[in-house]
Symmetry: D2
Subunit: 254 residues, 4 copies
Amino acid sequence: MSINVGDYVLLIYDRKRRWLLKAEEGKIHHTHKGMVNLDDIIGKPYGTMVLSNLNHKFYAVKPTPMDLLLKMQRATQIIYPKDIGLILLNTGVVPGSRVVEAGTGSGALTSILANYVKPSGRVYSYENREEFLKIARKNLEKTGVLDYVELKNKDILEGIEEKQVDAVILDMATPWLAVKLAYDALIAGGHFASYSPTIEQVQKTVKELEKQNFIDLTTLECIVRYINVEEGKTRPETRMIGHTGYMTFALKVL
Amino acid sequence: MSINVGDYVLLIYDRKRRWLLKAEEGKIHHTHKGMVNLDDIIGKPYGTMVLSNLNHKFYAVKPTPMDLLLKMQRATQIIYPKDIGLILLNTGVVPGSRVVEAGTGSGALTSILANYVKPSGRVYSYENREEFLKIARKNLEKTGVLDYVELKNKDILEGIEEKQVDAVILDMATPWLAVKLAYDALIAGGHFASYSPTIEQVQKTVKELEKQNFIDLTTLECIVRYINVEEGKTRPETRMIGHTGYMTFALKVL
Amino acid sequence: MSINVGDYVLLIYDRKRRWLLKAEEGKIHHTHKGMVNLDDIIGKPYGTMVLSNLNHKFYAVKPTPMDLLLKMQRATQIIYPKDIGLILLNTGVVPGSRVVEAGTGSGALTSILANYVKPSGRVYSYENREEFLKIARKNLEKTGVLDYVELKNKDILEGIEEKQVDAVILDMATPWLAVKLAYDALIAGGHFASYSPTIEQVQKTVKELEKQNFIDLTTLECIVRYINVEEGKTRPETRMIGHTGYMTFALKVL
Amino acid sequence: MSINVGDYVLLIYDRKRRWLLKAEEGKIHHTHKGMVNLDDIIGKPYGTMVLSNLNHKFYAVKPTPMDLLLKMQRATQIIYPKDIGLILLNTGVVPGSRVVEAGTGSGALTSILANYVKPSGRVYSYENREEFLKIARKNLEKTGVLDYVELKNKDILEGIEEKQVDAVILDMATPWLAVKLAYDALIAGGHFASYSPTIEQVQKTVKELEKQNFIDLTTLECIVRYINVEEGKTRPETRMIGHTGYMTFALKVL
């Protein structure tokens, strides 16, 4: 598979220095390790090596949905990939699923969900702040999944228009206020998920879930630890992300 | 969506007491909380409540791929959902991906991968122990994804027959021996992943990856912590799983 | 240093099978690995090996304060050594310190504190449940530190009689109710510590500390992970303790 | 207890802005929050509040051994308090213990050990780099425990001169080379501890311990997680220290 004009490529120097670029003729990418001429990668296969004018090695690879997410324009704090993986598996979202999400934010979670419900599924994503929706739309276009998403410029608290959806996934400041709406929108046996940084949000959301006919309430957090593997120096990394958010899951029953 | 004869349902009493059952007419399911007559759920929607003869509430829901995985017949230690989510996102496996996996084991990881590459993608799964393959085949049939999997009764160390695959995912005792084979089977820019319980396996695999033209080597572990959320008693659970396995990721370049 | 009649010894078979025994003449200790005759260790140095009648090796060592704590008769859940170490260092308790503690419980924390304030310091330990005090007294006698402890059969909420103490350490159900009393009992610059399993206890205690003239409020938890180190099998242990309690520290100022 | 000329005080503005100062007449301490005149605290009790010339509140408290450690001049990476607490409890070091330590480094661990073996115990601390010993000596003087420490300008690998010590604690690059020496220096039933950042150091040290007559080999790591407790915002802190070092413990038997 070769890189064509207009394709997005991830240009990698190392773990920290990597850029998401659109392959365009005559375009020069400037870095501290020299200039990379994008003409040198057009027509080449993904994974190709290219030298900067300072003779440093760069690699042009095909970005994964996660790479795209990490390189998105961010209007808001985004959910980490580690947490998205768990949300995906715990809500049972698969190709074909119909999912309601709020809020859209920068479209990070939206883009991953869209990638996994496609081709026949749909993500209905609520966001009342128009400036965020604009950013999200651009991000989803860039990641090539806009066709599988319905962006809705609405506050989810004013009502969920979809019915019988497979999952409702909330990443918002007051998820507890949307619990009843989520119940009504879900298919029987459908999945609720909420992502919240603070324990107070979790406490209120769980309280509300208990009032509705939800079962299987589960709250967890996911911690990823990177290991430096090097002969004679193998050890977990000194600094790590200690907390992103708690995830709460529940199942609608009748 | 209602439960038909022949469908698999997850019958839930609580977090720990839950059974994967095939809905069959006249079938009685015996539990410590009484007998559940499956006739009571046939024709009802997923999410329906049913009373046992001792008047306890049970719920019949549609199992997610993860529920199916957790209820599979296990010939071997299976990969945990938390780890599968990370493997999925880090390898960029999406609907349409072609993935090589070894070993098949009980087919747990296989079943999740198949669920996410479908409908147009494929999982090629290597396993040289025939008795495991039999169990895996049954599990994949049960989970409804056998059509998206090619089970291969071969030792991956004898060679990977597929070429230009998007990802190679190893869950085997000696992943380092398959690194060169993975490199050859991968498309340029393709993803390598290895899952190993011990640090020595990681050390050897990383050493081998460094010899091949892989970049972006990353080793991590994922720890999930369950939180008990209850008014006045909110706290992380006393006991937890401390370790399952390390995951190592890498990217093939040219 | 040799083992005399009346000394306590820790008899070790392996990590899980170990007993705290009083060396007595003619005493036989029965285990699944055979009988150990305590006469075989009396007069021998600590660290001595002794064979059971089934020819299994046992070792008689001098118990540390932590060994004594772990083998105490327990009336209540005790604080773990990992947490005690942090409490000790964060409160600055050293030989000579005067410390108020509540509740005594089984005397576990009391015994460690006493070991580190001796010879010139004192632990004042409040416990209103007489049956616990009895157990604690026996435990402190056994561990040889009763001389450094003043056991008080009183509810700390009725008042702290000591003044100008260096530290107040609370391990009780309602620590927030004792915050004001702790403030009054502490020397200026003295240390407050509270150990609580639930987040609600922490929330209430912090709120109360903020009302008093305490600074440097710090809440943390301590997680210990055991590593299995064995050639080719090195890895964190599969199961671990996920949570014991949160610790909150503060400093009294004027 | 009031602050006298020559006493060390910890001057606290907040969690991150705090200074260890010697109370001297006429001394002015400059900060971003204004100047603090040390004359204002001399003769006052510890815990006293003092205003800077910009009217910000500062508190002068008595430093704990841990405060002193954290404010020491550092020639080397020091062991964290969380790890020191565990070493203390696992090795059973108490007032009166005789402990061998290597290397001295900046004297951080030395200072805590000295604080807990005093008044009758002793720490024998080996360090072959003279420039470190100088720094350590100054640090121990400052922390007031030099009398309980014997600083030895020697490489521990050339031999441990002390015999029948209660504990040997190693914080050095090659602890495995000192295992045999530690065995010979320890009293029967005495405690070995080693602190190492990398897993390879642990692997080699454990291998060596297994060759000697050590039992009860235990390797662990200690992770401390800070919790931000604030109404509506309670959550673990976003960033944390992911790894400092592994600790390996063992018991000498005959």
